[in-house]
């Protein structure tokens, strides 16, 4: 089989993923390589936490034909695509900036940003596009302030990151999006050397351990990862709640459910729906299947997160179901660096939206909501809502 991409229902992963209960199945990659699809929860955890699987770009095979950047085209400092110890060196310079405590301290500011978005929506009156007016601005502004990226530049970086995440972008288009974003960070770094500020980029420059090209690659990674992911969770999560009114009412009315509701939405929606991939550097046995050195494995996070051997009622959206062990932030050394930020953003944003507009509803039929089946991060392109 090839990597399943076509969904039968908007909020459910492709049915093909569940045809066969085997946690590891043969898979043909877009370049013809025969590797493996890892769809079980335990198998996914095992692959992601095993150092015998590499994330180095040159060892991977593409799941989608056009989308493959050779190592030489991945910017220095882009540690998502590095193994230990290179990965460790970069990540350790950032972990202190994304701790639970530091992210909790951002809560009042995130509340303020969310309230401003809601004020603007209220003033303009319905209908609104929830992506443009709420889901995208909140995480964009938060990550801009954290990194020290001028928010006025958002149109530029939002367009470039969209180009990067489109599944049908040609390698040339992807490379130019990477180049443009890295160049943007070079300019920004030069400016910050002259005018230092109290932000993460200035901190990395002042630390003196990194070259400018490494800081640019790290900034690029944090900026794209920091806004596209949460933006899609906020918009798609709202869509899912609108489709499950009893769940929406719980999130709106019961402050005690929000922490688990965020985990459940992360599990149920699994917006990272293409990969990740890893390649075995030696033979590894995963759940009884031998993966030979050189063979590439592709995970399905949506399938792992709906593994019936792990979750009691995997296909139901139930904000009271314990969902905390989902793989939506990954597992192993690459587990999402910004996950505590994403959690706070979601814990603030969903209830703020639903309490401000208790009668929130779709302004278009659900089947007309444009889904991001064409993007490497799932979600909705827009969400027309009224109240």
């Amino acid at each position: 089989m090839t990597y399943p991409m076509s969904r039968q229902r908007r909020l459910d992963p492709p049915d093909e993923l569940f045809d066969d209960p085997a946690p590891v199945r043969p898979l043909t990659f877009a370049d013809g390589h025969v590797g493996w699809l890892v769809r079980g929860h335990a198998a996914g955890r095992a692959v992601l936490s095993d150092p015998r699987f590499s994330t180095e770009p040159d060892l991977q095979h593409p799941l989608v034909a056009s989308r493959h950047l050779p190592k030489g085209r991945v910017p220095p400092g882009f540690f998502l695509r590095m193994d230990a110890p290179d990965h460790t060196r970069y990540r350790r310079l950032l972990t202190g900036h994304f701790t639970v405590r530091r992210m909790n301290q951002l809560q009042p500011r995130i509340e303020e940003i969310a309230a401003t978005c809601l004020d603007d929506m209220e003033r303009a009156g319905p209908p609104a596009d929830l992506v443009r007016d709420f889901a995208l601005p909140i995480p964009s502004l938060v990550i801009c302030e954290l990194l020290g990226v001028p928010y006025e530049d958002r149109e530029n970086f939002q367009n470039e990151s969209a180009r990067l995440l489109r599944l049908d972008s040609s390698p040339g288009e992807m490379e130019s999006a990477v180049d443009d974003l890295v160049k943007y960070f070079y300019t920004l770094i030069a400016r910050k050397r002259v005018e230092p500020a109290n932000d993460l980029l200035t901190g990395l420059i002042g630390g003196g351990e990194l070259e400018d090209d490494e800081i640019a690659g790290m900034g690029f990674l944090l900026l794209v990862a920091g806004h596209e992911t949460t933006a899609n969770m906020l918009a798609l999560g709202t869509f899912a709640l609108l489709e499950h009114p009893e769940q929406l009412a719980l999130v709106r009315d019961d402050p005690a459910v929000i922490d688990n509701a965020v985990e459940e939405l992360l599990r149920y929606l699994s917006i990272i729906h293409v990969g990740p991939t890893r390649t075995a550097v030696e033979d590894v046995v995963i759940e009884g299947t031998t993966i030979r050195a050189g063979e590439c494995v592709a995970l399905s996070i949506p399938a792992a997160n709906r593994d019936p051997s792990r979750f009691a009622d995997p296909c139901a959206l139930d904000v009271r179901q314990p969902a905390g062990s989902h793989l939506s932030f990954g597992h192993g050394i690459h587990q999402c660096l910004g996950q505590q930020l994403a959690r706070i953003e979601m814990r603030v944003a969903y209830p703020a939206l639903l309490r401000r507009f208790p009668s929130l509803r779709l302004a278009v039929p659900a089947e007309e909501v444009p889904m991001r089946a064409d993007m490497s991060i799932y979600g909705v392109h827009s969400l027309r809502v009224t109240w």
């Binding site: 936490s49 990540r91 202190g96 701790t99 639970v100 405590r101 587990q335 996950q339 505590q340």
Partner: protein, 63 residues
């Protein structure tokens, strides 16, 4: 129950500090795991076991 940690493998994801803040914290500078009480207070054993499962890097152990 006693917990031990390996800051050499910790990746600072913060799952332990999120799950059992009475037992785990993260260092200010590097965000790596800090044990507040190595002897787990009664009633928190289950939460600590949960933190061990959620830890992405295998930095936590309990005996």
């Amino acid at each position: 129950m006693r917990v031990t940690v390996d800051t050499g493998v910790c990746v600072g994801a913060g799952m332990c500090a999120l799950t059992v803040p009475a037992v785990f914290d993260q260092s200010e500078e590097e965000g790596l795991v800090v044990v507040l009480r190595s002897e787990v207070p009664a009633g928190l054993e289950q939460a600590v076991r949960r933190a061990l499962t959620l830890c992405p890097s295998g930095a936590l152990a309990a005996v």
